[in-house]
Symmetry: D2
Subunit: 174 residues, 4 copies
């Protein structure tokens, strides 16, 4: 998913885009970015604890200092198994959104008129089934990858206009 997103963003000419694993990302990576996309496998109906560890440390320090307020963000998730729905995918994405909004980030949805939405989208972001109903792992479908790519492009487009305006700057506590 993340690789499809990277391809999409680079296609738009944003060559400085980077894919960074959650145990390697640093505060400066967030500060340098105009757009931030985070994703997780659905683990026990929520954010994977390895990503949560990064949120509770790296992102928490940025949050305390309001260092990335006004940037643009979106999210994605992979899930699967029992309950067809990829049970827990909504709670997981709401939890991701909750973190992104806490950081003061403008949040980009995945509109249902996106090509392939019915194969890999929720209003909260891109998602893909990585396992069948019986929990057998399966490859992520091409449709889902295409949706992820489009979602990343949407996020970057919003970021490229919002980043010029810094819309919340006037309201900051001095």
């Amino acid at each position: 998913m993340a690789e499809a997103m990277l391809v999409g963003v680079k296609e738009l000419g944003f060559d400085q885009a980077k894919l960074i694993e959650c145990d390697k990302v640093m505060a400066q990576d967030f500060i340098d970015a105009d757009a931030i996309i985070i994703g997780t496998p659905v683990k026990m109906g929520g954010i994977d604890h390895k990503l949560k560890a990064m949120i509770d440390t790296v992102m928490a320090s940025l949050w305390i200092e309001d260092e990335i307020v006004g940037k643009v963000a979106g999210c994605f998730a992979t899930g699967g198994g029992f309950g067809k729905a990829g049970a827990g995918v909504e709670v997981t994405m709401i939890s991701l959104a909750n973190v992104l909004l806490e950081m003061g980030l403008v949040y980009v949805p995945l509109p249902k008129n996106t090509v392939g939405f019915d194969k890999g989208g929720l209003q909260w972001g891109a998602y893909a089934l990585s396992a069948n109903e019986n929990m057998c792992p399966k490859e992520i479908s091409v449709d889902s990858l295409n949706v992820a790519k489009t979602h990343a492009q949407n996020i970057v487009r919003v970021a490229s206009c919002v980043s010029q305006y810094r819309p919340f700057m006037n309201n900051r506590i001095a």
Copy 2:
């Protein structure tokens, strides 16, 4: 709350801003707007049924046709009473956000460095206590009204840049 928001938006020079009650708003009002802000009292831990009736009819018809995808939105709520936190305010705001994201709207958070955030803000938007812990109604505080005003201004500022770009247009299903 809504009136404070209207004042804030007009101060920025957006004279065409309108405050419309949920039983009077029409689909065309949404289509004409660049920014959409919806609010509700917390009722039984969720969206008031009168607002939900509007969502299930007016907004549902816009949703089916993808007519307001790519506009900018935010939300607010008032609550109070048992449980200090204005119990249910988060579920209510998540429900509002869920609707706004379903419509394909870019969602503007309320950053915690907003002046007065500690008196009337959640990451999901502006909120105000309209009752004490013991459920006695009380006036909404000036701090909460100021936060609401700033939140509306943030939303409109984001909208004024995003509306020029229509960032999702290339991705629409023809």
Copy 3:
């Protein structure tokens, strides 16, 4: 769904079980019951406004007076369409659970080892797809109906033991 649940409960010998539509249910119906099951179609990612109107009036009056604290409850939903997952089904069920917990009701989950869970269950309760990915309505599957029936039986079994103990009674504010 509701009819399958009623059949299931009557099979267990609870002949006084009733199926009541949301615009006809009265406060006394809740007071008379040991177990309460509510369900809704997913409407714009949330509770249908007609059910919400009942919650905001009939259930709100019971809530204020703490009249049904300690009874047992569960929920179900039907959804479908865009996004395979029946997008919004989790937010909808969380909203229903939120209401039931506010009423002080013991909440019965749908365990994943329920026969047919993968066809019509979420941890929050029974759900069924009432439309395809492309929003064409479809009949609710037999599997989903069976899951709903089992879920209702579980709720009633929990209620039949909890109702004898009234476990919260000692803690009530006099």
Copy 4:
């Protein structure tokens, strides 16, 4: 909070009750218990990553095997700081509830007629402010501790009746 809960449970005569930290708890501890209470500080609007690590490993293995289906559970959280509400406490508790329901556990709410509810309760469980609006840490109030104690007693009372019935046993997949 957890210590107040332990005192409450022991007062009811349940001497085998144990308080176990999340990095020390083992699968067998869950299997041996009739009632399970989990709690977390609100960290970045969600479950602390150290607790999530336990959920993703110890509880996940129990989940896969459906080993604790039909037991009884509840939760608590501590939070504080910006936004008065202990922003994120609802999302955190919904996330905890989501995990408990996934495990197939009967969920005990905190009824609003609990003495002290207005000082330390949400419908989802007991919570306490561990910091002021300006994020200065503060001691948890006696009221909040009393609510936690009562909540634990409610959970144990429900468990002591449900555990005799094993209400979901007939429905298990053989």
